[in-house]
């Protein structure tokens, strides 16, 4: 049923100008980051997007929520083509797709309190009972309400990332993009954040795209997994199938390279 598809991405291409090789006059040559991505995300899915550095996974994410504009191809969100939509037209839709960023130190404005950071999107999107919703969001991510008056630098890494999550879920979006959100955390806070995310997915029925370089984390959280390599989809399948019987050579390589915390796996 097409109603159930939240994202429909076809032949998506995106490139950046290569300023290092720009001639004196005229346009710079372009470096292709995404080379024709096809992808569908159904409502309620948790999709993992994995790849090494330079795979284009973050670029894909930022194109999906239209922080970047693709060169060609199409992105349909809830059936609406948003590929080249103007920012003014996107703005009212923004509450329906939110993002959690990799580095909470950079993604939380250092001169705003936690309360106003979470309230920001709510106010902009014209929600009522903003204060109550902020409290509710803090409850959801397991932060005490008194944290509203704290500044980001007064929190620990895990707590900051929870603020990022609270801000993203506050507007009750249809879709959330999480870009490498646990890669900067210690394993103990990583486990906490992952558990929290899993619980929110269950409770709020979130649709989530989870970008990571770490396949172990993906297996835990996601139903479907896409493996990217240099801007192309290597494999996009059911997570379990992908892990148990990888089809692509690159996926196999990636899986083999993960050091498992046990002595059964031996590297020759």
């Amino acid at each position: 049923m097409s109603d159930d598809v939240i994202y429909e991405i076809e032949n998506l291409r995106l490139s950046f100008p290569d300023m290092a090789h720009k001639p004196l006059f005229g346009a710079a040559p372009r470096i292709e980051i995404l080379k024709g991505i096809d992808m569908r995300i159904a409502r309620g899915d948790v999709v993992g997007i994995v790849g090494g550095s330079g795979s284009g996974k973050s670029t894909l994410g930022r194109a999906m929520i239209r922080l970047l504009e693709p060169d060609s191809g199409s992105i349909r969100f809830n059936g609406q083509d948003i590929t080249h939509l103007e920012e003014t037209a996107l703005r009212p839709m923004r509450r329906r797709f939110q993002m959690i960023f990799q580095d909470p130190m950079s993604s939380l404005n250092p001169r705003q309190t936690v309360g106003s950071i979470i309230a920001g999107p709510l106010k902009l999107q014209g929600f009522d009972r903003v204060s109550a919703r902020v409290d509710q969001a803090l409850d959801h991510v397991g932060l005490p309400r008194r944290f509203r008056s704290r500044y980001p630098h007064e929190l620990s890494g895990g707590q900051r990332q929870r603020v990022g999550i609270a801000r993203a879920i506050a507007t009750e979006p249809d879709f959330i993009l999480a870009d490498e959100i646990v890669s900067g955390l210690d394993v103990s806070s990583q486990a906490q954040v992952l558990n929290l995310l899993e619980q929110l997915v269950r409770e709020l029925g979130l649709t989530l795209a989870f970008i990571s370089h770490d396949l172990s984390v993906i297996r835990r959280l996601c139903q479907r997994t896409m493996v990217l390599y240099r801007g192309e989809v290597v494999e996009y399948r059911d997570t379990r199938a992908l892990f148990e019987a990888p089809e692509a050579e690159y996926t196999r390589e990636l899986l083999d390279a993960i050091p498992l915390p046990d002595l059964e796996q031996v590297w020759a």
């Binding site: 300023m19 290092a20 720009k22 001639p23 004196l24």
Partner: protein
């Protein structure tokens, strides 16, 4: 970005900048309320006088026309004739330029020596009282401009402990055997160290006044840059290899720390050159800046235009040289 492309791009922007400066000086003098001709003539001049003078300097034409005529002249090396001295602007300006160049370079050298020494000492003694003292001294030196340092120096070395000359470039009693106006430079070449000493005694205070704020900036920027570099892994690695702190600072960190400070110091050096205008006035030093102030007071329009353009040329040239040096020293750009 290749080096050639970088050079071409910089030359292009430099040309635009110089043109912009020329336009602005030219029009500020003419468009802003106040009649330049009236400024030039003594009170009580007749309308006839005014008309004659206007015709003489081409001021009866429209302003864009005047500009084109002037620009045409400039492109042929003709900057017009000074109103007060009736001499070609170009030769007047060139006769004073060496004095200002010598003063600026001397100040730059002093600033680099003091600033570099402070930055290295501060880095070597980081975390101690020495570093704290250097930081506080820097803060004071930085926030007080050259003009005030000049006055302080006059009081110190002109009045309290009068060991230096407080005005002029050279003692009038000295017979100059030189063929250029680069007195300091030529005195060394001709081994006339008596004259050299007299020149230095005159230049010491103005150049020090100019140097103090720049030295503080160099010390601050370089120390900051060193501090960041000292945290990088290659510096740690050098330590574990058995090198001592001095080697680590001067051989490993310094070459990389100097590079980012270089461009900033370039801009600051142009500020220093700009500062010569008032410092030369303060110490009655016969350079370009002193001449410029006289030109403004005497409403000598062609001379003012010439001097401002020359300053702009020097500033942009300094920035260009700094930029290219940066590119040449940076292996990333050299091979890129």
């Amino acid at each position: 970005m290749t080096l050639i492309r970088r050079i071409l791009l910089r030359l292009l922007t430099t040309a635009i900048t110089l043109f912009g400066v020329a336009v602005i000086v030219f029009f500020v003098i003419r468009v802003v309320p106040g009649n330049p001709v009236a400024m030039m003539l003594p009170p009580g001049a007749t309308d006839d006088d005014i008309a004659r003078l206007k015709a003489l300097y081409g001021l009866d034409k429209t302003i864009p026309e005047q500009f084109l005529i002037w620009l045409g002249g400039v492109l042929h090396g003709d900057f017009g004739t000074s109103i007060t001295t009736r001499q070609p602007v170009l030769s007047l300006v060139l006769s004073r330029l060496p004095a200002t160049i010598e003063l600026s370079i001397m100040a730059l050298v002093i600033a680099m020596i003091i600033g570099g020494a402070l930055a290295l000492t501060g880095t070597r003694k980081r975390g101690t009282k020495v570093e704290g003292t250097i930081d506080v001294t820097n803060g004071v030196a930085l926030s007080v401009p050259d003009f005030l340092w000049g006055l302080v120096l006059i009081l110190l070395f002109g009045v309290l402990w009068p060991i230096f000359h407080i005005s002029g470039r050279i003692s009038p009693s000295i017979d100059l055997p030189f063929s250029t106006n680069f007195y300091l430079f030529e005195s060394v070449l001709r081994l006339r160290f008596d004259i050299w000493a007299d020149l230095v005694s005159h230049m010491f205070m103005p150049s020090l006044a100019l140097a103090i704020p720049l030295a503080a900036i160099i010390a601050q920027l370089l120390k900051q840059s060193l501090k960041e570099t000292m945290h990088l892994d290659y510096v740690t690695l050098a330590r574990t290899k058995g090198y001592d702190e001095n080697h680590v600072i001067t051989r490993e960190a310094l070459p990389n720390a100097v590079l980012p400070t270089l461009t900033l110091i370039g801009v600051q050096f142009t500020f220093l050159i700009g500062g010569t205008v008032i410092i030369e006035r303060l110490f009655s030093y016969e350079g370009l800046g002193n001449m410029a102030i006289d030109a403004v007071i005497n409403r000598d329009l062609p001379l003012i235009q010439g001097i401002v353009i020359l300053f702009a040329l020097i500033f942009t040239a300094v920035n260009l040289v700094v930029d290219l040096t940066y590119a040449a020293l940076n292996p990333r750009l050299r091979n890129g």
